[in-house]
Amino acid sequence: MEVQVTVNGQSHSADCEPRTLLVHFIREQLGLTGTNIGCDTSSCGACTVHIDGESVKSCTMFAAQARGADITTIEGLAADDGTLHPMQQAFMECHGLQCGYCTPGMVMAATSLLSENPSPTETEVREGLEGNLCRCTGYHNIVKSVLAAAGGES
């Protein structure tokens, strides 16, 4: 079936099977491999993208369900001139990533969180990221990064 989506401001159209998971569609049909796959049970959040501004796990959606949607992936966060998004910058400055594999999903979840709650407490950050797993950082610096991006004390 034909699936048309807008990803990072660009319209894309590609043919896929109805069973094609959105994350595979984004990665393989559209070639945007920044969105990662870390599990098969909707547990890890590595595949988090924004659909119409809200974080979702793209492994738990069929591409068919996203037809016509406005999708933002990690590739769409930094400015056109290469300037990192404040959340990306905060992750860099607070050492919120190590191997980087959970990072795109973590950053997308974090930006979605701040759009809903611009000044979260530490507890709210942890709860807001409860659907994202990281094996490298123990979350300490991820939480610090999100608080820093929110403009709070880090």
Partner: protein
Amino acid sequence: MIPASFEYVEAASADAAIAALTEHGDEAKLLAGGHSLIPLMRFRLATPGVLVDIGRLDDLSYINDGGDHIAIGALTRHRALETSDMLAAEAPLLRHVASQVGDPQVRHRGTLGGSLAHGDPASDLPAALLAMGGSVVAKGPGGERVITADDFFTGFLETALGEDELLTEIRIPKAGGAGWSYQKFNRRAQDWAIVGAAVQLGANPGVALVNMGPAPMRAGGVEAAIASGSSAADAAAVAAAGTEPPVDLNGDEAYRAHLARVLVERGLIEAQT
């Protein structure tokens, strides 16, 4: 993991969805947010031949004042529930329970109707519906019918919905300021409850349990005890009566029965204060 192939049908209206269900019979499954169904399909534990996508039926996404009850469209997402001012005032238990489902990403996509229709005893929202004495509206080829929560959950992943019926609306009696509590016990925030207890006091006190039997269930003994004026501790003592809790890595029957008593007591105390 990769789902098996299926035929995809997008329903343009509730009636179209019902027509598709009627046409395809037990081959067909409804797809709303997909957050109950797709995980099963990825492990090929569910292999429907036809998926009828009702995810775009925006007219089934609403939270309305129905007079003595709140009427909620079946496709209303958890996120809409947990941020609803109307629910904060009239059905705070449901609002809070919605905020405890899965994680933010899941709540952005998952729908109330989808969660209830899945009929998972480990799921949070069925317990809220039971404790609040809610009901659902099912629409089929022959029209609509209202099913009470008590009649709705019939077994493990089974509900009273017919093969050709679509759940369209959920009705929650206004809580009228009744005390409430939701006690969810799990090992990580994103996990399913090992055991949960939903409590709403008021004129018709309701206590429902999560993951204590094959289907979402009320703790009838506790409700009777409250009605007869028992203390929280005494009422909670019978929380596990008549339950058939599952046995898994997180808990055996005895532990779950104990947790049910602890959580119901905590819930009753919190609801009373």
